[in-house]
Structure formats: structure tokens, C-alpha cells
Amino acid sequence: MSGAPYLDMLRWLAPEVLLAVTAGVVLFVDLGLARSRPLQFRSRLAGGLTVLGMLAGLAWLCQVPIVARWGGGILALGPLTSVVKGVLVGLTVLTVLIAMGSDPPPHVGEFYALMVLATVGMCLMVSSREMLMIFLALELTSLCLYVLTAFQPRNPGAVRAALQYFLFGSVASAFLLFGFSLWYGLCGSTGLADVAAALRARGLDPLAGVALVMVITGLGFKVAAVPFHLWAPETYRGAPTPVAALIAAGSKVASFVLLAQVLGVGLDAVAGSAAWGGWRSGWMPVAAVLAVGSMAWGNLAALVQDDVKRLLAYSAIAHGGYLIVGLFAVVQPADHGLGVSAMVYYLATYGLTLVGAFGVISVLERQGVGSRFADLAGLSRRSPLLAGCWLVLLLSLAGIPPLAGFFGKFYVFTMAVAAGGGDLGLLWLVVVAILFSAVSLYYYLKALKPVFVQPPTASAAPLRITLTEGIALGVIVAAVVLLGVLPGWIVDGVLEAVQAQSWLSN
């Protein structure tokens, strides 16, 4: 690739470049100019700069995007990738706003710079169509997140969580890399399009099958699908709350997009089938097993949790299961992009909801309220606004209309059934998903009960919400309600984008 036009790359990846520059500026300003100031001031300054830089990147993404492929198909750019990147940057902006309200971390500049760099990695994941680039982007995000998880060094839980996350993540990367190298050996190329062509010619021979399982295992760790989910609950609980939000929302969204790309772009030839009574080997049966496992274990394990963060972790695992069901719709080329738009809608609204839920927990934590159910008692008296946010967000996760979580599930499930064809081959998977989602209402109501039903326990002092937290939560709750009532706002845009740039062929 020596002849690759790097200038073009810089131009087309301008939003990512802008983010990387923002990270540098934040570090410079914080460490160089504001070092002697109080921590609170530094947090506001660095956070403010981060938000400004990311909003500038977001504005750039909203420009009319070009459809382009760079370096012989290493990177793909177009309206669809821009929409997804916009979602990712938006999620990080909201996370940063929430982080600005929480207790400032000891190393302010590094904290925000790492968050921005993690976002750069996520954006690159969305554009990558080549195995090495995918790996680099994934590692950029992962390394930033490992460090961020351990960012409260005096909290022993954080160190343990970070170590666990790091060990699991490294093993996942090793699996992924091994799978990629096998593919490279089979195909002689690192481009996903070449892999697809080679697999189409060879079919699913044992070696390709091993590589397939390796890759799915590696990515399965990243999206916390059962049985590769073990790191998630501990990491969510131990990490600083805004970082947990970033892991649960942004990183998960990006990983899912990546999974859809690898499976759709690279593996369409070896999809197989998971239709009822018509299983054929390929990635689809594997994905079906992961989906059922995630939905079953995520929802059942969530039933017995008594800590909100662990509850959200298991609920995130369950939502991962629903999203894997959505993968079946994404690779359906004949539906005019409806499957892709369903996935993007689900990812965007799910990410928003989780950032919001962790945001509420962050507001509570700052004022000394723990994350166990008992600590939430009487929240509706201490802060009706916060309780209202919690109600909307959890009901959205449970899939109650008219909130976004309902339409996301409905749309993804409908498209998955449609992808199964006229004989409803995939209906069994959707039936499993819907039944487990009925189970999930139990634990969401259990997390709402102390807030609204029980009286406050010891201290009943009213709770305060800072300006940035208020902005973030306000935007999130408004979006969850409005997008739920009028899903066309986001879906129409995605459908237009898909017309211009097919996710799969590019």
C-alpha cells in the first residue's frame, strides 16, 4: 500500500483527525496551562474543550458526505458510516457531559483525552474494511478503555475490574488475530472483500470454519455475548460510572457495527442458515446460539441482582442477544436497507438509554447514594426529576411503548422475521426474544420499585443535578421519548443513507 494517497485519507477522515487533535489540545491545555488550578476547574475546562472539539467533529460529519473507498478498500466512507459515527460521537459527548458533573478524576487531562481517543478508535472501526485496520481500531479503543477503567487507583474494585477487563480483552484480541491470520493464510489478502471472494470459491472447509469460530469468539468477547460475557458485570461495577457508560454504550455500539460488517461483508458466502428445521452450517447457527444464550442468561441472571450497575450489565448482555437477532436482518440485501436501519436505530437508542441510566447513577454517586436497590429507596421524593428520568430510561430498556426501546425491539424483530422468508423460518428466534423480554419487565420493575414505592431511609436530603448533567439527561430523555413516538426522524435518514452507500458491498 505504499502508493496510498495519505492526503486523501486525512481529508476524508477529517472528523477523526479533528478528534485526535482535540485529544492533544486537551492534554496540552490541562497539563501545560491549568496544572496548578483546582481539580474542579480543570475538569470543567478539559471537559468543555472536549465537548467543543467533539461537537465540531459532529458538525463535520453532518456535512454532505462523500462516498469513497480509500487505499483499495481499507476504509469505506459514505453517508451510512457518517450516521453511525455521528451516533458514536454523540454518545461520547453525552458521556463527557456526565463525567464533567461527577467527582473529577485525579488525572483530568488524560481522562478526557483517553475518552476522545477511544472514540476515534470506534469511528475507525465503523469505516474499516480490512483486517489489520480493524484490529488496530479495535485495540485503540480497547487500550483506552482498559486504562480508563482503572482510573480511580484508590478504589480496589476499579483495579480488579480493569485487570479482569484487560485479561479477557487481550484473550479476545488473540482469538481475533488468530482467526484473521488463518484467513490471511487461506486467501492471501487482508481485505474483507478478498476474504469474501475466496470463501465464496472455497466454501466452508474445516480451516475456514476454525477461523470463523475464532473471529466470532473474539468479537463475541467485545460485544459481551454469552458465553464470553464474564468480564462485563465486574467491569461495569468497578469502572468509574462515566467510563462504564462509555463501555456499555459507545464501545458496544461500535463493536456491533464491526460484527455486522465482518459477518456481512466478509462472510456472506458462509452464512448458512438458522431457520427452524433447516439449519445449515455457517455463522448464522453460531450467531443464533449466541443470541439465545445471551437473551436467556442475561435476563435470568439479571433477575437476582441487587446492584443497579450489575443489573445494567446483565441487561446489556440481554440486549446484546436482541442485537444478534438483528444481525440476521442486517445481511438481508433485498429489503431496501430496512434491516440495516433497524439495527442502527436499535444501537443508537440503546446507547442513549444506557448512557442516561449510567448518568442517573453518576448523579447519585456524586452525592453519596450507593448503587444497591436499597440505596435508591425514596428517590422520587428526593429528586422527582431524577426519578422521572430513571422511569423513562428503564421502561425504555424494558421495551414499553411509546419509548424508543419498544420501537427498536419491534423493528429489529419484525425485520428478523421478514429476513427468514415467507415460511417464517426465523420466527422461533424472535419468539424466544419476545418471551425473554417479557421476563425482563420483572427486574426493571424491581429496580423502579424502591424509587417510587418505598419511603426514603436514612437521609432524605434533596439531590442536586448540575448543569451539564441536566443537559445530558434532558437530551437523552427527550430523545428516548421523541424517537420512540416518531421513529421516522432517525430511520428515514438511515434509509436515505443506505440508498447512497450499501453497508455490505462497500
Binding site: L338, F410, L427, V431, A438, Y442, K449, L486, G488, D492
Partner: protein, 505 residues
């Protein structure tokens, strides 16, 4: 006009949710005002609707164009009847909730959100929209019971919410499958109930889709053996919420069965109607027998709801004009009568005596302490037994005549259910109000009676107004049922014609 019932209810709920906790009186009057305004809109809208005009569109806007879902509100004679019921039940329920003292604005906010969802279901003519409103109604029920309820309230609330959500999960499976099959068969993506009911779904598909959707809705209608949420939920709920649960929420289920399950899958209905008729009859008799042995006064009424809703489901399964019209009339009638019974038991008696145990009530001589409650309960139980002159008589008679034509054996067994119904109501009436306990005979009894009158406090004005309203409605419908039947029968007629085209004999 009718669409405004929906909007004012949700707007009222939103305003009440923002009202500070201590503005209890303002919240009560605001809620009553909103419910009355809704009733005015309902009456005005209904009077615009000509009987026999078929499905009349009120509003139709594109909502989710890429899936073919519209914001489509439309009514026919069946929905008009149920909207009127909702308006009456909403006003009466607020009057019977006047004594709620704790977190009053929040109570009425949840209450009106529930009412809004119910109006929405009865108005929707789009499958997705109907489902959205159907689910909106679940969450307020949970909080109404869990926060303001009594006996085992958190258990009852959770059970109710999970049964409802489980039922709607089944419905959702059916909706998605029907949408996909219809889209692939006709090439048009649509959620319009009208359009979908014209689609000839494959018979094999209907054979499993019909029971899934029907049971999904019928769980909320108290279909035996999925009825167990109903008695516990009704007992745990605060009075106003029990009145709504029994009065209108159970009708949501029956309405869904009629409009969606039966309307979309006539061939499946043909296969399964015998089986569901049997379940309905079992429900009638089981509910009545269970009511006969309860010690808790409210459980008696809770099980009687299961029994009476059995008549609705039985009527639907007859598939003849008189039986189905009877079922719709029974929905209206039971909504009013159950509201009245729960009002007496939950508000007039329990909130004063703090016991619902029939053996404890025996000693209190309530007929003297609370004469108004006793009179109301006598009238309500007469209506509930199906005495001529009350709405229950007309409705259950029609259902029985209809089922005599379709399933003669079922009609006989259901008749037994009516007899048992008389027995449990008389037993409850006797124990709670008219026991002549020898220990309290003569002057002592009067002394206790007058003593407890002072302790218990007389029946307040809001209760009286609410009770008189409900009694007047059940009497009016009982004496002049054509008032409603003129709307119901043509709508049922055209609906059955549609089913006939779909292959039902």
C-alpha cells in the same frame, strides 16, 4: 371529537405529574375536571356517530411510513359503546378515590395515563397503534397497585404486570408474524386492521396464530386458566384502580380478542372456537364457585369478575349476531356493575371498617351503620345477578340465547353459573350487611349500630354521586337496552359478515 378524549387524558396526566405533592385538593378537582371533559368529548363524539355507519375514520396521519403504520383513529358501534363505558368508569373511579391522601397528584397522573391508554386502544384502527396503547396501560396499573394498594400489594402488582406483559408478548408475536406474512403475500406493508382483515392468511398459519393472539388478549380478559392475576390484582388495588381494572382494563382484553384475533384470523377461529367456548364456560362456573367460598369480601367480587367475563368470551365464541352483541353489551354492563361493587366493598366498607373478612363484618351490622352502602350493594348485586331491569339481565340473556344456538350444552352449564352467582352474592350480602347475630339482638344491636355509625362516618358526597351515576347507567341500559344495542348490533352484523367472507360458517 372522540380523539380529544385521548388527548385530554394524557395532557391531564402530564400536568398532574408536574403538580407539587402537597396540592392534593387541586389534583383531585383537576383529575375530576379532566375525566368530565373526557366524558363530554366522548358523549359529543358519540352523538356525531350515526349507528350502523360502520368504521368511521376520525384521524388518519402517516406515522411510520416505512412499515406502513398509520396514526389511524376510527370507531364503529362496538368501540363507541366501550368509549362511553370508559368515560363513565373514569369519572366514577375518581369520585371513589376522593379519600386518597398520599401523593395525590401522582395517583391521579397514573390514573389518567391509564385512562388515556384505554381510550387509545378503543379508538385505534391500526394494529401497531392499538398495541402501543395496550402496553401503555400496563405500567400505570403496576404503580397504582404497588404504591396505593392494600393486601399483598407488591405481589399483586407484579403479578398483574407480568401477566399483562406476558399476554402482550404473545400478541406481539402474532402481530409481527401477521405483518410479515401479509407483506409477503400482498407485497404491501401495512398495519391497518381493516386491510389486514381482508388478507386471506394461509389456513395453517391461522391455526397457530389465532390461539396465540387470542390467548394473549384473553389473559387480560380473565380467561380461565389464565385468570389468576385478576382476583389478586383486584384485591390488592386501591378502590379506584380496582374499578378501572374490572371495569375497563379487562374489556381491553376482550376487545382485542374480538377486533384483532377474531377479525384477522377467521379460519383459525373456526378451528378453535369450541375449545375456547369450553374454557369460557369453565371460567363462568369456576369463578362463581370460587366466589362462593371466599372469606374476603373483595375476593368475592374479584372472582365474580372472572365469572362475568366468561360470559363475554362465551358470547364472542357463539359467532351469531345475538350472542356477540350480548358479549359487547355484557362488557359495558359488567364494567358498570363491577365498578359499583368494588366501590361499595373497597371504598364504602373497607376504608371505614379496615376489614374485608366477611365473618368480622357480620358483627358490625353495616346495614344500620352504613345504610347507603347497604342499599347500593343490594342494587348492585341485583344487577350483577341479572335481575330484569338491570343491564346484566339483557346482556347475559343475549349471550345465553346466542350460545343456545351455537353450543346448547354450554348454555346449560353457564345457566348453572348464573344460579351460583345468585348464591354467592346473597351470601356476601347477608354476611356483610344483614346478619341478625343473636349476640347483638335487640337494643344492644342498635347500640352497636348507632355507635359504629359515629365511628365509621357516613358515606361522603363524592361516593354518593359516583354510586348514583353507576346505578343510573345500569338501570338506564337495563330498561332501555336499545340505546346501546342500536349501535352494537349493526357493527357486530358487519363484522360477522366480514368473518363469513373469511371462511367462518
Amino acid at each position: 371529537m372522540l380523539a380529544w378524549t385521548l388527548y385530554v387524558s394524557f395532557a391531564g396526566a402530564a400536568v398532574l405529574a408536574c403538580l407539587p405533592r402537597r396540592r392534593a385538593a387541586a389534583a383531585r378537582w383537576l383529575a375530576l375536571g379532566v375525566a368530565l371533559l373526557g366524558a363530554v368529548f366522548a358523549l359529543a363524539g358519540v352523538s356525531e356517530h350515526k349507528p350502523g355507519a360502520g368504521l368511521e375514520t376520525i384521524t388518519r396521519l402517516p406515522w411510520i411510513p416505512f412499515l406502513g403504520a398509520d396514526y389511524h383513529l376510527a370507531v364503529d358501534g362496538i368501540s363507541v359503546t366501550l368509549i362511553l363505558l370508559t368515560a363513565v368508569a373514569a369519572v366514577a373511579g375518581i369520585l371513589f378515590s376522593w379519600n386518597i391522601e398520599e401523593r395525590v397528584p401522582a395517583f391521579f397522573a397514573f390514573y389518567l395515563a391509564l385512562i388515556g391508554g384505554v381510550y387509545g386502544v378503543f379508538l385505534s384502527c391500526d394494529l401497531l397503534l392499538l398495541f402501543v396503547f395496550y402496553e401503555i396501560a400496563i405500567i400505570p396499573k403496576y404503580f397504582l397497585i404497588a404504591i396505593w394498594g392494600s393486601t399483598r400489594k407488591e405481589y399483586g402488582a407484579m403479578k398483574l404486570a407480568l401477566y399483562s406483559f406476558g399476554g402482550s408478548a404473545l400478541v406481539l408475536v402474532g402481530i409481527i408474524a401477521a405483518f410479515v406474512v401479509a407483506a409477503q403475500q400482498t407485497g404491501v406493508a401495512t398495519f391497518s386492521i381493516e386491510a389486514l382483515s381482508r388478507v386471506a392468511f394461509p389456513a395453517a398459519f391461522q391455526r397457530w396464530a389465532f390461539p396465540v393472539v387470542f390467548v394473549g388478549f384473553a389473559i387480560l380478559a380473565g380467561l380461565w386458566p389464565f385468570h389468576t392475576w385478576a382476583p389478586t390484582g383486584h384485591v390488592a388495588a386501591p378502590t379506584g384502580a380496582s374499578m378501572l381494572l374490572a371495569g375497563v382494563v379487562m374489556k381491553l382484553g376482550a376487545y382485542g380478542c374480538l377486533r384483532v384475533a377474531m377479525g384477522l384470523f377467521p379460519a383459525g377461529l373456526e378451528v378453535w372456537r369450541g375449545a375456547f367456548a369450553v374454557l369460557a364456560v369453565v371460567g363462568i362456573v369456576y369463578g362463581a364457585l370460587a366466589a362462593l367460598v371466599q372469606r374476603d369480601f373483595k375476593f368475592v367480587i374479584g372472582y365474580s369478575s372472572v365469572s362475568h367475563m366468561g360470559f363475554v368470551l362465551l358470547g364472542l365464541m357463539t359467532l351469531n349476531e345475538i350472542g356477540v352483541s350480548g358479549a359487547v353489551l355484557q362488557m359495558f354492563s359488567h364494567g358498570v356493575i363491577a365498578g359499583l361493587l368494588f366501590g361499595v366493598v373497597g371504598r364504602m366498607v373497607y376504608d371505614r371498617t379496615h376489614t374485608r373478612d366477611l365473618s368480622e363484618l357480620e358483627g358490625l351490622r353495616l346495614s344500620r351503620a352504613l345504610p347507603f352502602a347497604a342499599v347500593t350493594f343490594v342494587i348492585a348485586s341485583a344487577a350483577s345477578m341479572g335481575l330484569p331491569g338491570f343491564s346484566g339481565f339483557v346482556a347475559e340473556l343475549q349471550v345465553l340465547v346466542g350460545s343456545w344456538r351455537a353450543f346448547p350444552a354450554a348454555a346449560l352449564v353457564a345457566g348453572v353459573g348464573i344460579v351460583v352467582g345468585v348464591a354467592y352474592l346473597l351470601r356476601a350480602l347477608q354476611s356483610a350487611f344483614f346478619t341478625d347475630d343473636p349476640g347483638f339482638a335487640g337494643g344492644a344491636g342498635v347500640a352497636v349500630g348507632s355507635g359504629s355509625r359515629g365511628v365509621l362516618g357516613s358515606v361522603s358526597m363524592p361516593e354518593r354521586v359516583g354510586a348514583v351515576l353507576l346505578m343510573a347507567v345500569t338501570l338506564a341500559v337495563g330498561l332501555y337496552p336499545r340505546w346501546l344495542l342500536d349501535w352494537i348490533v349493526p357493527a357486530v352484523h358487519s363484522m360477522l359478515e366480514g368473518l363469513g367472507r373469511g371462511g367462518v360458517s
